[in-house]
């Protein structure tokens, strides 16, 4: 097994639309972070090179990052060269409404016509971010194409409207959402096969692994696999250890993170907080054991650290502490 980095670890430091040092942050009513041990990137665009530097700084082997940040084929090729020169793996990320209706999803004809490839663009500014100009299908195809040019062999395809559709929403109910996801992913399988890139579902604070397992079983393609997130099952009231036992045979990458459970509070509303890995209530070692024995290729399984403290904390300190804990307490798993 290997250790990598998820871009989300630095979301409050480097995402153009979230970073704490832009004026817009002052409207968030969030506390400012003091005593940071890492400086934000000196670009106001996607911080691609800055993230590669962070991966190298921490002696990691992969980077999980939004492929839209690579903008076009030229930048993607250049990024691929830098990653290869440093012997780093790129794991792409893209998102859309996975539970979209057939109409919202759009015409699943592939390859896309040239005009669609021009029309569909990714924007990233302090005020806006995301793909625009195309249907859900077109957006995902462009994201997968860029990821493939950039050398990715795996791309997470995550749901991007969790407030509208998730395990608990009733319009439509979860069974119908799963049916839609099955139909939509089936249209992407030929794309993934053509590009030679494996799509990975992820429990992304929206669906249970059990829901996603139903999708993967129904699609039944080697081009659709899973990214197991160690803590996200908690957000949909699914035990992480039970969850990994369901999806381990499909797991080709992970997001490793921890969360602290505080079931009883003064208000009577349970809370779940981010925690440095090893400081929370996710059974990290037990999950790693399951993946070691049941994942299809555990030796090459990249665990991308996704340590996401809230904005007032120092993500670098949390990442350092998490890496120290993993290297000290789970050493037997790392190549």
């Amino acid at each position: 097994m290997k250790l990598g980095l998820s871009q989300a670890t630095y979301r409050w430091v480097c995402y153009p639309w979230l970073r704490f040092d832009v004026p817009e942050f002052r409207y968030s009513e969030r506390r400012l972070p003091y005593f940071m041990s890492v400086d934000p990137p000196d670009t106001d665009g996607p911080p691609v090179d800055w993230l590669v530097d962070r991966v190298l700084q921490h002696d990691l082997t992969s980077l999980y990052m939004e492929s839209g940040w690579l903008s076009d084929d030229g930048i993607s090729s250049s990024f691929k060269s830098r990653m290869q020169a440093s012997d780093l793996a790129f794991i792409g990320s893209c998102s859309a409404n996975l539970a979209a209706t057939e109409e919202e999803w759009g015409d699943p004809t592939y390859p896309l016509p040239a005009e669609a490839r021009e029309r569909v663009v990714y924007r990233s500014t302090s005020g806006d971010h995301g793909w625009a100009g195309g249907s859900q299908f077109e957006v995902l195809v462009r994201a997968m194409e860029l990821a493939a040019v950039a050398g990715a062999r795996i791309i997470n395809v995550v749901h991007d409207v969790p407030a509208r559709h998730n395990h608990f929403t009733k319009e439509p109910p979860i069974d119908r959402q799963i049916e839609r996801m099955i139909r939509n992913f089936r249209t992407l399988v030929p794309v993934a096969e053509s590009l030679g890139i494996v799509m990975a579902t992820e429990s992304h604070m929206d669906y249970r692994c059990a829901d996603l397992l139903a999708v993967m079983e129904a699609v039944d393609s080697p081009w659709l696999r899973h990214c197991f997130d160690f803590a996200n099952p908690i957000t949909v009231i699914e035990d992480p250890l039970d969850a990994v036992k369901l999806v381990a045979p499909y797991t080709v990458v992970t997001h490793i993170k921890d969360m602290h459970a505080r079931p009883m509070t003064h208000l009577g509303e349970p809370r779940f907080f981010h925690a440095p890995i090893g400081s929370g209530d996710v059974p990290i070692e037990a999950i790693l054991e399951v993946l070691q024995s049941e994942a299809p290729d555990p030796d090459n399984l990249e665990h991308c650290l996704e340590i996401v403290p809230t904005s007032e904390y120092d993500p670098e300190a949390w990442l350092d502490a998490s890496l120290d804990w993993l290297r000290a307490n789970c050493a037997k798993f790392w190549n």
Binding site: P162, D206, T235, E238, P263
Partner: protein
């Protein structure tokens, strides 16, 4: 089933150490509770009598209340008579350090529990929800002692209380109280294996220990002798990446009541007499009476088949 309420619905207006009209409440830094339709018991009013008045006003059948509002056996008998005069049933509440080590249990906790059981029986209770009174240091996530050790201790401690429960005719109902999973509660009830220990199933609390409420209901039903109705809205994704769980009036959240009440109706040992107590406790700046009345109305309108006595009260 019979419909009642838990006194926790009024925690911010009547608990002496929580009520929001205390000067100390202002230091919590919370918004003022404007436009309220209810105030707590007055200085000369006994909280337990105030609760009876609320029950009568709301047309309910049972009240969940702990020993904190009964000073002695005379108090208890007086309360029992007043409840009986209003045809109300008391579901007792008993705080226990149920996973205490044996030496601690024998050094006073056992005697206190026995005393509380006798007091509740004198107040007319034939059921009492038993809850863990140290949820911060003893719960599903605590590693020392391990959850297995906690459950073994709970089996031993509950077993020690069964003779007095039998003597006074009071059944304890181990509640999943934002601390343990129902799978663990069931383990304890099976381990004790007494007709005087069942389960008080709380519909919302499984969420707090990452347990699906419907799965929990199916496991709890065969042992459920009481229930608390609670709803939560689960918001998995947030701007911080930390999920949020919020109180809601019944029917406005994500707890599947239709399925859970059906499970209880079909699987509980005596569904006809099963008391289910609404426990809706919004944050202190919200109006608990508005939330409670909305919840009662929703239950009456949506599930008349489960609450035959509530048709005439509605």
């Amino acid at each position: 089933m019979k419909l009642g309420i838990s006194l926790a619905c009024y925690r911010w207006v009547m608990y002496p150490y929580l009520r929001r009209d205390r000067p100390e409440h202002k230091s919590l830094g919370r918004p003022e509770p404007y436009l309220q339709t209810i105030t707590g018991p007055g200085p000369s009013e006994l909280p337990r009598n105030w609760l009876i008045d609320r029950m009568v006003d709301l047309g309910l059948e049972s009240l969940y209340m702990g020993t904190a509002y009964l000073d002695d056996h005379d108090d208890a008998r007086s309360f029992r008579d007043r409840m009986a005069a209003n045809e109300l049933e008391l579901i007792g509440g008993l705080g226990l350090t149920l996973a205490a080590a044996e030496d601690e249990w024998r050094a006073g906790l056992f005697e206190q529990a026995v005393s509380d059981i006798r007091l509740l029986a004198a107040a007319g209770a034939t059921f009492a929800a038993a809850v863990n009174d140290r949820p911060d240091s003893l719960n599903h996530f605590i590693k020392d002692p391990s959850i297995d050790e906690q459950m073994e201790r709970a089996i031993r401690n509950f077993s020690s209380l069964m003779p007095v429960c039998e003597e006074v005719g009071l059944k304890l109902a181990f509640e999943n109280h934002l601390d343990y999973r129902i799978s663990e509660v069931v383990r304890v009830v099976q381990g004790v294996d007494s007709p005087y220990l069942g389960i008080n199933f709380d519909t919302g609390n499984p969420v707090a220990v990452i347990e699906d409420p419907l799965v929990a209901a199916r496991a709890a039903a065969p042992y459920s002798i009481n229930a608390h109705l609670k709803d939560f809205r689960i918001q998995p994704a947030t701007g911080t990446g930390e999920p949020r769980i919020f109180w809601t009036p019944l029917g406005r959240g994500d707890v599947p009541f239709d399925e859970i009440l059906t499970v209880l109706a079909e699987g509980a040992p005596d569904p006809g007499t099963l008391s289910v107590c609404i426990e809706v406790a919004p944050p202190p700046e919200h109006d608990p009476e508005v939330w409670l009345r909305a919840s009662i109305d929703w239950i009456r309108e949506t599930f008349p088949q489960h609450f035959p006595n509530q048709g005439s009260a509605a």
